[in-house]
Each structure stands twice: as structure tokens, then as C-alpha cells.
Amino acid sequence: MLRMVPLPMLGRNLQVYQYDTYDQSIVDARVAEFRDQVERRLSGHLTEDQFKPLRLMNGLYLQLHAYMLRVAIPYGTLSSTQMRVLGDIARAYDRGYGHFTTRQNLQFNWIKLADTPDILEKLAKVEMHAIQTSGNCIRNISSDQFAGAAADERTDPRPWAELLRQWSTFHPEFSYLPRKFKIAVIAADEDRAAMRLHDIGLRITQQDGVAGAQVYVGGGMGRTPMIAPLVNDFVPLSDLMSYLEACLRVYNRYGRRDNMYKARIKILIHEIGVDKYRAEVAEEFAHIKTLGIDPPQAEFDRIAAFFADPAFADTTADAPVDRSDAGFAAWLDQNTHAHKRAGYTIVTISLKPTGGIPGDASADQIDAMADLAEAYSFAELRVTHAQNIVLPHVRSADLRAVYDRLVAIGLAEANLDLITDIIACPGLDYCSLANARSIPLAQKIADRFADPVRQRDLGELKLKISGCINACGHHHAGHIGILGVDRKGTENYQLLLGGSGAEDVSLGKITGPGFSEDGVVDAIERVTDRYLAERTDGERFVDTYRRIGMEPFKEAIYG
């Protein structure tokens, strides 16, 4: 029998999950399998229709101009070594760019089908893959980008997410679900992962000293946005896989398959009601629990050990951070968060420079971020669902050095959670589903609000753009959301106000008739002007909107 042997690839002292021979053998087999499938496709043994679900389950989409490969970054955590390989692939097989996504993954937009097996092989060498980054299966598990570092977390959600990653990988029963299935795990009061806008959202908690999860089921965006209701207030860790298996089995059996737009689990729960769904799951769970499919506590502990704290330095003698430079101080205020350890800080690198493409990074920037992680953050990075990058463990005394380096590589934009920190889908520039362009609009909005003083004055304002109703740009969850539609052959943009993907989750409402590209930028400005006129002390845009409602904004927009 194979013994469990940790592999040496990523280095000993990392705080990321590291493959043993079992994990590696599964990922290696996947590369061989996909190579076989690509060969059969290229030789004509598989039709495009038959190949499509196979390539999709490996994150390979056929877009407008080329294939797009979506690489999984499980729960958004990666090492500097892995980050560098992403840069290498961008250089060798793409046009020198990678695009970080709202599911904490990375997409390459200019890939050749024949190259994909070699790319997957390169990824497998650093314990990465593209498994289930698309298709009607359980997708990459997402989580809090500040996991293991945040001052406000109860526990690190990543061991839970890794347990789920393994359970969901090539799940034999749930690989041909009615529709895609997204799971998020958080363990803090603040929700940085849009947990309740997932098919399943888990919040890790404790009851009587036992670790477990609150289970929310049936959230999602898309054309019918819904906030997930609570289905179970506490499922202990020892039952969690059985319980999730029950949740999925009920969906796999009863979810609609007659209409892909009504096939997500949110529609099933909406149609049968949450009480009926909960009862069905309970019945299924009672049966599944007898099968012995839950891993033992020892397996959780084995995984959790990988996520132990790094070797934090004694920072008691560190000098306080010198805030005399205004640019640096602004960046500190906007792009850093409190760390659980005194003397350390969480840094978010904005991938939203004015005029840039939200979430894009060049191969050189990817390398530079890997260098920064090695020098200042225990060789670890995170991807956020808002398409930015996090250095989770920066010694506060090093913040100035990190900032100076970010200035040098053009990634020191101090706009985290401000109006120019825009989430945008690839839109009509890349995507075959889109009705309208997203990226040029994001750039126009960023240009209009480029003045940093003005942005800071507007405060937290989450602006999200989708180029079609599939809502990849999370427009329903934007404080300001924009939805691109096709109106008689021209691109038209609807404006939504009042959404949120955070712990104060809500869905945005459409203001009224849509706009042209320039028109929507003007409308946003009228909205923000009205906010500035109406706000009371300390109110964010979304707070003012919730207090005064849609009418004053409508009046400002449509006169």
C-alpha cells in the first residue's frame, strides 16, 4: 500500500495545503486523461458536442476569439511558487497576461486547445489544476481572502474548504448536475466571500464546544438572483460531508433539467419551498449518514496542520509606521486591514489601476507579486472575489517597502472598496454570452472618478458590472450595479442601486430605463452627487440609499 508521503515541491515552511502522493496521483491522472480527451477530439473521435462537457469540467471554454483556460486557485490561496508558474504560462501560452476572477481563480484568454495538456502538466508540477472550474459540477470552493490572518475570524475556514475540495473532486454522483454548483465557506462575522449568494454557503461556528457549520442553500446571482435561506443552523463537522451529500442528492434528483435558466438549486428551493427542501434533505441525510462517508477528525486535523500560523517575528521593538507621506498614508488607510497578530498587517494589492482592465495582471506583475510575497508575506498570496491580490501576513514595519515596490510596478492604486475598485466580467470583448462590453465601461467610469480625493470622499462604494444577465460581474450585489443588455442591436446599460454581497446582503433594484455607455457614466455621477447631498455623518452610499430609498436617486437621474 502507498504510504502517505508529503511531496517536496512547494517547500517545507509554507502555510498552504501540500499534496501527498494520493493528491498528486489524482491530479497527474487528470492531466493524462485530458491529454487523451484532447487527442480524441483533435482526431475526430469526439464531436464538439461530446467534448464540450469534458473540456468544461477542466475549465476550458471556447470564447469569441480563442479558448479560455480557467485555472483553479482553491479558496483563493496560493504560494509564490504557484504564482510564478501562472506568470510563466501567461508568457509562454497566452499574450503575457492573466485575469483574476470573481471565483478567486485565474483565466488565460488566448489559449490553444493543443497546448492545454502541456499547460495542465506544468500546473500539476506545482500542485495546481483546472479541475471543475466549469461545467455542471461542484466548482472551485471559495472563501474569505483574509482567512488565517483576519483579526475578526473565529477560526481559519481553509481546512474546511480543503476538505470540501477533496470531497467534491470527481464526485461520481455530482458531476452531471442540473447546473453549476458553487460553495463558499467563511468563519468571520464580516462576509468577504458573498457567502449567501452561493448555491451553498457555510459559516463555520461552534455549538457546545463542537465545531460545525451553519448551512445556507439556494443563493445565487444570474438572471434570477436570490439570497440563500438558512437550511440548517448547525451541522457538526463529523456530519458535514453526509449532510452536503444529502443537499446535493436532493438537487440532483429533483432540480429542473427542462430549462437551463431554471436549473440552479435556488429555483428548486423557490419552487418547493425551503421547509420542504429541508425535510427532504433531513430524510436523505438520515440514510446517507449510515454509509460512513464522513472523514474522521484525524483527516481534518491533518489538513488543518498545513494552515498553522507562519513563524511570526517578535515585533515588540518595531517602530510605528511613519505616515508622513500622504500617498503612502492614503494607501495604508484604504488597502490594509487589521491582522490577528499585533505588528502585522493584511495588504490588498489593487488590480484596478485607472485605465486598466479589472483583475488583469501582466506576467511581470505576477512575478513581482510573487517576489513581494516571498520577501514580505511568508511566500503566500490570496486572490479576492473582487479580483484583487492579498499579501496576508506583512510585518507592519515592512509596509513602506512593500508600498514602494508596488509603486514601481504600477500596482499601488489606493482604491480598495472605492468606486474605481470595479468588478467587471470579461464582457463582449471576450465572452460569447455577453450582450454588451464591460471592460471599456469600467475604464470610462474609472476615468470619470479618477481623482483620488473625490473617490475617498465618496467612501466605500462597490460598483459591479455584468455584460449580460448571467451576472458574472455580480451586478445584483453592487452598491451600484450595471447590467449590459442588447436593445435592438445596440448595447444598453441598466443601472441598479442598493445591492450588497457582504454580511448586509441585499439585491440591487433597477432604477428605470437604461442608458448608452456614456449615459450610464453620467447617471452614476448624478447618483453619487445626490448621495453627497443627502448623506449624514458616517453613512456609506448604500446606507444612505437604504435610508432614503430609490426615489431621490431616480429623480436625480431622470429628472
Binding site: M1, D36, P172, R257
Partner: protein, 141 residues
């Protein structure tokens, strides 16, 4: 009728499969066919007299049959469990894990590709209906 690919040693069952309705309506048939939308649990009281259960996969994207297979095996069914219809070579390993041991694909399957597919993975992450030991169990003995 297509000759089924059988991954079991006993002799093929030659009685034709009847519909679920016909079976439940007082038939003494020993072979039944369930459609993708049928509730496999309706068969559970009758498993001991069934030698063949055929599960229809009308489209390869329709994955309801995977749950049906597991439900039948989890209830102790040991007879032949056949996946019939739009069954593709790359799906057969997953179907095997859900308890299917017989396959009647509408389109012919390349035997070499099937053999490669079935032997591809040495390890699996989760317990299912095929008795394969999940890696968490291997890790902890």
C-alpha cells in the same frame, strides 16, 4: 438491441426489462427499466426478486441516473445495474463508482479508450457505491 458491456461475471439476464409502471402493477418480472425521472426508491421493496435494473440516460448531460444507481446499491441491490442510452466512454468510470456494472451505450464505445478510462485513476477522494477505499481512509488506516 445493443449488446451490453458487462463488467460482471454471471450470465447475462435475458428477460426483457419492463417499465416501472408495469413492474409495480403486479408484474412478476425480474428485469425493470427506469426512466431518468422515475423514483428509484419505488423499487426498494422488490430488490430481492430483481436480476436486472436498467437505468435510462436520455442525454449524457442528464445525471439523475447517477443518484438512482447509488440509491439502489446503498439499499443492498446486488443484481445487474445497467446504464442505457447516451452513455459516453468518459462517463463510464463515474457510473461504475455509482454502482453500475453493465453499460448499453447508444453509440459504440472504443474498447481501448474505455480500458484506459477505467484504469486511469488509482485513487479516489470519496466513498461511493463501488467499494473503492477513499484516500482519507488510506491516510488514516
Amino acid at each position: 438491441m445493443v449488446e451490453a458491456l458487462r463488467l460482471r461475471d454471471d450470465a447475462a439476464h435475458d428477460e426483457p426489462a419492463v417499465t416501472l409502471d408495469a413492474f409495480l402493477g403486479q408484474s412478476n418480472a425480474t428485469a425493470v427499466r427506469i426512466e431518468a425521472g422515475d423514483d428509484a426508491r419505488l423499487l426498494l421493496p422488490h430488490l430481492d426478486r430483481l436480476a436486472l435494473i436498467e437505468v435510462s440516460f436520455p442525454k449524457f448531460r442528464d445525471g439523475r441516473g447517477y443518484s438512482a444507481g447509488r440509491i439502489l446499491r446503498e439499499a443492498g441491490y446486488t443484481g445487474e445495474l445497467r446504464a442505457e442510452g447516451d452513455v459516453l466512454v468518459d462517463q463510464i468510470p463515474l457510473m461504475r463508482r455509482c454502482g453500475f456494472d453493465s453499460f448499453a451505450p447508444a453509440a459504440p464505445v472504443d474498447p481501448a479508450a474505455l480500458e484506459r478510462a477505467l484504469e486511469r485513476y488509482d485513487h479516489v477522494y470519496q466513498a461511493a457505491a463501488d467499494g473503492q477505499v477513499p484516500v482519507w481512509k488510506l491516510r488514516h488506516g
